[in-house]
């Protein structure tokens, strides 16, 4: 436990030394959101939500998509230790491989959680996203479950892949691909039938389903229980697989 706490604090310290990464990740969706708000309003209205402003789709959609980019960066941390030649020092410490993995994952789950909340609030202020009777707590539950799922997925990916370029590719393709398939870019109802068929395999689908329940239908905790549970169960499975797959003595290649 001591080692986990030490690594968590250490990761936060390193993260705070370069806040520009998170700042850029925050600004980008704020630029993109207004561009698609009007289109999404038409799209939602065509799907039966007559009073939709478009913010109900575009804000959670961008939060989910850019959340994947932010969470995906958790994988870089493992590789960065190899690049800084500090990995062997960590291995030679009292930290077990499980402590290392948990210590690397936890700060990013919290970071991604805060990132989503701030972006949602900014979406409310700038684009007029409203709960319409939906529960803010239910929304927080969905965001927490999504953050856990994305970070544990990236931990599994980082445990498996050998180079940071591979993780980078997964992060980019995953963020865009999952956003498209999972209904973050356009409402799920607007997707082609084949895409609707496979979209439930993406974490984005379940996150968007939760957000739709809150922001479009005014749902509460009960309405988001299923998506939250799916994401949390997936997190547990992904973390277990990451722990099994994780080899501390495996050489990883950071940027040359």
């Amino acid at each position: 436990m001591t080692a986990v706490i030490a690594i968590v604090k250490h990761q936060v310290r390193i993260l705070l030394r370069d806040p520009w990464f998170l700042a850029i990740m925050f600004v980008m969706p704020m630029v993109v959101m207004p561009l698609f708000k009007r289109t999404m309003a038409f799209s939602l209205q065509a799907s039966g939500f007559a009073n939709a402003t478009g913010a109900e789709q575009v804000v959670p959609g961008q939060v989910v998509m850019f959340g994947f980019f932010v969470g995906g960066s958790a994988g870089f941390c493992l590789f960065r230790e190899h690049g800084w030649k500090t990995w062997d020092r960590l291995r030679a410490s009292s930290a077990s491989s499980r402590s290392l993995l948990v210590g690397f994952a936890l700060p990013w789950i919290v970071t991604l959680m805060i990132f989503q909340v701030l972006l949602m609030v900014a979406g409310g202020v700038v684009l007029g996203l409203r709960l319409h009777g939906g529960s803010p707590f239910a929304s927080l539950l969905v965001m927490f479950a999504y953050a856990s799922c994305i970070v544990t997925l990236i931990m599994l990916v980082a445990s498996t892949l050998r180079t940071v370029n591979q993780v980078n590719a997964f992060q980019n393709v995953g963020a865009m691909g999952f956003a498209g398939l999972g209904g973050a870019l356009v409402p799920i109802a607007q997707l082609p039938s084949w895409a609707r068929l496979i979209s439930p395999i993406t974490p984005t689908y379940w996150a968007m389903r939760g957000h739709n329940a809150v922001f479009l239908r005014g749902g509460g905790v009960r309405e988001v229980l299923l998506p939250t549970a799916v994401l949390l169960v997936a997190s547990g499975i992904l973390m277990a697989l990451a722990v099994v797959r994780f080899r501390v003595d495996e050489t990883k290649q950071f940027f040359a």
Partner: protein, 303 residues
């Protein structure tokens, strides 16, 4: 303090360690000498629990490292060959992190960071980030990170590579002080003057085997083999070098590894009509002892 017995390690077809024995008592410094690829770093990694040995035993302060690697981590400190520090963190943060990882409380690790910085000449740089340090300062910080938790066995893998003279002197002084404080130290290097400055016991390792060990005086007494160095007008062929049983130490400069063969050498050179332009006797030193034992000069073996 440290007892390594019959350690074996293979990587596929390569036998990196072949039954290595090594014993280091508290307060002593052992210098591990060997060419690149001799097995030094592998041995250190096995002792630190970074690599699992195929056979043998490693016991640190009564703890079997191979059976209980996690229990031994607090007892061992290692500064690997490559400099590993956190560039975006300050010197103090780097040192404190490794203290915290080892379970030191806030006040204790803060004090340890200050003490180590003082010992390694980094006191003025505690607030400076890793990126802003010179190569020598980074090297000292790298070594310092291995000391924070007061390991009983400290392993420094070529700590002065790329370091300036000041850094070398400070590191050597720090290592001697740590030994005086009771740590068992293994120090690998290619710089023989450092071994003498440390007044360390010497272990020569080659092809994964310990070929010789002892104090400098003991090794010189038992391996005072080289007595002759000569220069020829033209380079000798590799076949001649092998036939004559000599070692090339320059394009036209050679050393005779066994002074008893001088007579035979003179005959053979005469038979080949080789013109010898200079001859000198060589006083035995660590380099010649290393050459005598391994058949290589340490300086060359590094390249």
């Amino acid at each position: 303090m440290l007892s390594v017995t019959g350690v074996e390690k293979s990587y596929k077809d390569i036998r990196a360690l072949r039954g290595v024995d090594l014993h280091v008592s508290a307060g002593s410094i052992v210098s591990l000498l060997g060419r690149n690829g001799a097995g030094k770093s592998t041995l250190l990694s096995v002792i630190a629990g970074l690599i699992k040995a195929d056979a043998g035993s490693v016991v640190v302060d009564g703890v079997d490292v191979l059976a209980h690697p996690r229990r031994a981590t607090g007892l061992v400190g290692i500064a690997p060959q490559s400099t590993g520090i956190y560039p975006t963190l300050t010197v103090q943060e780097n040192l404190e992190f490794f203290g915290e990882l080892a379970g030191l409380k806030r006040v204790e690790r803060r004090q340890r960071a200050i003490d180590i910085a003082d010992q390694l000449g980094l006191s003025e740089l505690l607030g400076r980030k890793g990126t802003a340090l010179s190569g020598g300062e980074q090297r000292r910080l790298h070594t310092g990170c291995a000391l924070v938790h007061r390991p009983k066995v400290l392993m420094l893998d070529e700590p002065t590579v790329g370091a300036d003279v000041t850094t070398r002197v400070q590191l050597i002084d720090a290592v001697k002080q740590l030994a005086a404080d009771g740590a068992a130290i293994i120090y690998t290097t290619h710089y023989l003057p450092e071994v003498e400055a440390l007044d360390a016991s010497i272990v020569i390792i080659d092809n994964g085997m310990v070929l010789a060990s002892g104090s400098k005086a003991q090794l010189m007494a038992s391996h005072r083999a080289i007595g002759l160095q000569f220069e020829t007008a033209a380079p000798l062929s590799e076949t001649d070098v092998q036939t004559l049983g000599i070692t090339a130490v320059g394009t036209k400069k050679y050393q005779l590894p066994n002074e008893n063969d001088v007579r035979g050498l003179v005959h053979l050179l005469g038979d080949r009509d080789v013109t010898v332009t200079a001859v000198e006797t060589i006083q035995p030193d660590l380099e010649s002892v290393f050459l005598s034992i391994t058949g290589n000069l340490l300086a060359e073996a590094v390249q």
